[in-house]
């Protein structure tokens, strides 16, 4: 391996007692692109933040050019030649390209004033060095996301004299053409002896540009080595913590496959397309059917659900419920058509912790419960009592604050809220994340029961086992497109893993 420029050695980081990184070591060599992969919560961001001085390690150390260092701020890391390109573009949208490139380092004339002519000339020069032809006088926000990102990268390279460049999912918003430009720049940097850490969940890209790869899972480093020695399928299995040859049957999950599925589809989503996010995703769900959506982080699972629920606008495609077309881009229309979405982040998008169980449940159903604008308390009470019993919500009573409940019971309250609306289709995004094993089994049993009662269910879960065992059909997404479907007895972790890891097939291929 080439000279190690930056290295993490046995880094441990805890947040409020929770172990985010558990003895992670990573070496970045000059002239090398090092891939870093892992599912949500694996610790990638934390590791980057420790390398760049945003966080300090609790144990272990960061070594720069062989010497232990402690960067107190991102600025110190930057001054040491470590630049980070973040997922979101950290430039000033209202300033021109040239000003953004040299902000804080503007060329000055003899009077100490900014030399505008030189500023623009130098801006054109540095962009040209990386083969970029951009009008440097334009306001940054008027450029495409990809071009903005190039400006951010060039800025990082020119202002810091960067020797180490960390890229956090740089291609998530880029066009294929822009990705090519980025990779050209990456290659050029590698040729100049720069060490690159490349975080991405796009396997094609990793195999295209990386020489080494490190896999994190649950805060631990589970693999590191040359990427050539790690086949695609093995990489995915390592990331998800699955043993390929021996898929264990633990019987922990309670979801049962095999519901009656002969009726006409209750939900038909056709050709859902949204630039950079979804690429021609089609999906049908029959009453009583649980359709699992599998995919790696960023494959477009949540985005598909959000698109069906009208939460995000679509560039093309549409959704029908029971054969009737639903007006796109409107959650109101989707709800009226009988589509209910339980979002992934129930704290931010769902429950209102300071309100009672009762208020949380009837919130969405208020219009249905009211006459002439007045809510009938009696009817609301009946409804709440029914659902608390049916979903077995464990609480001191309907007036207990939802914030005081356990994660599983919070999830049930949310579910009750939507069931009040008598939906025909239930979209569940990570319904069992963050809740304990017992409650997990209960929620899973509930989903099963609801499907039996004739609801169409779409289930997204990072827990592969939950999807495999609970779904009647699994649609596998990759880079925002459907990469395959498995049905019935074919649903095994191996089959799904294989589809997750397929080459190409996504956008542009």
């Amino acid at each position: 391996m080439a000279e190690v420029l930056l290295e993490a050695a046995g880094v441990v980081k805890r947040f409020a007692g929770v172990l985010a990184l558990d003895g992670v070591s990573l070496q970045l060599g000059g002239g090398e692109v090092h891939g870093l992969v892992g599912e949500n919560g694996a610790g990638k961001s934390t590791l980057i933040k420790i390398l760049t001085g945003v966080h300090q390690p609790d144990e272990g150390e960061v070594r720069h050019l062989g010497r232990p260092v402690r960067f107190a701020t991102p600025l110190e890391a930057q001054q040491a030649g470590i630049s980070t390109i973040y997922q979101e573009i950290n430039l000033v949208p209202l300033l021109s390209v040239a000003r953004n490139l040299f902000l804080g380092h503007e060329p000055l004339n003899r009077l100490g004033l900014i030399d505008s002519a030189r500023l623009h000339r130098q801006a054109r020069e540095v962009l040209g060095r990386y083969g970029l032809d951009i009008d440097v006088t334009r306001e940054l926000r008027t450029l495409g996301v990809g071009t903005q990102q190039m400006v951010a990268i060039v800025r990082a390279l020119t202002t810091g004299e960067a020797r180490v460049v960390i890229m956090d999912e740089p291609t998530s918003a880029l066009e294929p053409r822009e990705v090519d430009t980025l990779f050209r720049v990456v290659d050029q940097l590698r040729g100049e002896g720069v060490a690159l850490l490349y975080v991405s969940h796009r396997l094609d890209e990793l195999y295209r540009i990386c020489q080494r790869i490190t896999v994190l899972r649950d805060g631990r480093m589970v693999h590191t080595g040359p990427i050539a020695e790690l086949p695609r399928l093995k990489l995915v299995a390592t990331m998800l913590g699955r043993d390929l040859t021996d898929v264990r049957e633990r019987g922990l999950t309670q979801l049962e496959g095999g519901h009656v599925a002969a009726a006409a589809p209750v939900l038909t989503a056709e050709h859902l397309t949204r630039l950079h996010v979804l690429d021609d995703v089609s999906l049908t769900v029959r009453p009583g059917e649980v359709v699992g959506l599998a995919g790696l982080l960023g494959a477009g699972r949540s985005e598909t659900l959000r698109a069906i629920a009208g939460a995000d606008p679509l560039d093309a495609g549409g959704v029908s419920v029971g054969g009737t077309r639903v007006r796109g881009g409107s959650t109101k229309a989707a709800i009226a058509a009988g589509i209910a979405l339980l979002p992934e982040d129930r704290k931010a998008e769902g429950i209102i912790p300071n309100l009672s169980i009762r208020d949380n449940i009837v919130l969405a159903a208020l219009p249905r419960l009211s006459r002439a604008g007045l809510v009938s308390d009696r009817r609301a009470d009946e409804l709440v009592a029914t659902f608390m019993k049916r979903l077995q919500i464990k609480a001191s009573g309907p007036d207990q604050k939802v914030g005081e409940l356990s994660g599983g019971n919070q999830q049930k309250v949310l579910l009750a809220r939507w069931l009040c609306m008598e939906p025909r289709v239930l979209l569940l995004d990570e319904p069992t994340r963050g809740i304990d094993v017992g409650a997990k089994a209960e929620v899973q049993a509930l989903v099963d029961e609801l499907a039996e009662q004739g609801l169409g269910v779409v289930l997204v879960s990072s827990d592969l086992e939950e999807v495999v065992e609970g779904a009647d059909r699994v649609v596998v997404l990759r880079d925002g497109a459907v990469s395959g479907t498995v049905e019935g007895d074919d649903i095994t972790e191996d089959r799904v893993l294989a589809l997750l890891a397929t080459e190409g097939g996504g956008r542009d291929g």
Binding site: L91, V92, L94, L95, R99, L103, I114, S116
Partner: protein, 330 residues
């Protein structure tokens, strides 16, 4: 097929965007020209040299305050304390004038600059909301003023200080001295905002503070300095006005911060920060001054209507700006 449609559309959009951007930056100027032309046609006494010079002197104090306010607002903040600080500066200058010109300028600048520093430190270091902090110093400065003047009962007069009163009452090359000082301040302010690293950092902090931090810009220092600048300019304006009136008047400057904010917004500076221009602010100040003068010309109209008319203008401009920035974003 769709590609062609998109192309045609973008051309239209681009034209609309350019028009929108032009109005956003120069809308106040267009309105000012229209109002001046209308005023000149309607009132023979409006477009006279004397009247225009009067307007210029009258607006120069607000102009200085709005200059500081522009820096503050571009940085993403707000300074509500300037009206009180202006009045305090005037009283301090009038009192200190007994010790000579230097004292009459140094005392108000020192005190008002210190108030700005307090604002800046609390906002930038203490991470408190600018609205709350400067509301507190608005009350504090007004209280200090009333305490110094025995609840406004005592008025400090400027006696036998020709050098000091010249700053408010004199004229050079037919222009009032306050006008010249204001113009100089705008020239320096323009250089500072557009041609120095500090000025660029002001834009960056207001445009995206997170980005500015990650780029390693001195965000805290920039934020502190814009409030110091605002305090200093308000104090200077107060001192000049005391020189003009030969006394420190305690009841001045109530609500002046709102006039200054109005002028800045009329001039096309975004209240959310990150974009704006001093030329726009100057135009906004002139617009407010001209409207007031025209209402005075009508004579029969209650002068309180000036606020109504200025308010209407502000609403129209802000509505148009909001509408335009929506078309621009699309």
């Amino acid at each position: 097929m769709s590609a062609v449609a998109v192309e045609v559309d973008t051309a239209g959009v681009a034209r609309r965007e350019r028009a929108a951007a032009f109005f956003q930056r120069n809308g106040a100027l267009v309105v000012l020209v229209l109002v001046v032309v209308a005023g000149a046609l309607a009132f023979p006494s409006f477009a006279t040299g004397v009247n225009l010079r009067n307007i210029a002197v009258q607006v120069s104090f607000l102009a200085l305050i709005a200059l500081g306010m522009t820096f503050v607002i571009i940085s993403g903040g707000i300074d509500l304390s300037v009206g009180s600080v202006y009045a305090l500066g005037g009283v301090l200058a009038a009192w200190a004038s007994q010790f000579g010109l230097l004292a009459a300028l140094a005392l108000p600048l020192a005190v008002c600059g210190a108030i700005g520093l307090l604002n800046g430190v609390l906002i930038a270091r203490g991470r408190l909301a600018p609205f709350i902090v400067t509301l507190a110093t608005l009350l504090g400065a007004r209280g200090l003023l009333l305490a110094l003047t025995d609840e406004g009962a005592e008025t400090f007069l400027v006696r036998d200080q020709p050098a000091f009163t010249f700053l408010g009452q004199g004229s050079l090359l037919t222009l009032g001295v306050p006008v010249i000082i204001a113009l100089l301040a705008y020239g320096l302010g323009w250089l500072g905002l557009n041609r120095t690293r500090f000025g660029q950092a002001v834009f960056a902090v207001g445009g995206s503070e997170d980005a500015a931090v990650l780029m390693g810009l001195p965000v805290t220092r920039v934020k502190v300095w814009v409030y110091v600048l605002s305090g200093l300019l308000a104090g200077l304006a107060g001192a000049l006005n005391a020189a003009r009136l030969s006394s420190g008047v305690t009841i001045l400057g109530v609500g002046l911060e709102l006039d200054a904010i109005a002028a800045v917004i009329l001039g096309g500076t975004l209240l959310s920060g990150g974009a704006g221009s001093l030329l726009g602010t100057l135009t906004g100040v002139l617009l407010l001054g001209v409207i007031q003068n025209l209402i005075n010309q009508v004579g029969t109209l209650n002068s309180n209507f000036q606020s109504v008319v200025s308010g209407l203008f502000l609403v129209v401009v802000v509505v148009v700006q909001a509408w335009l920035s929506r078309t621009q974003r699309r």
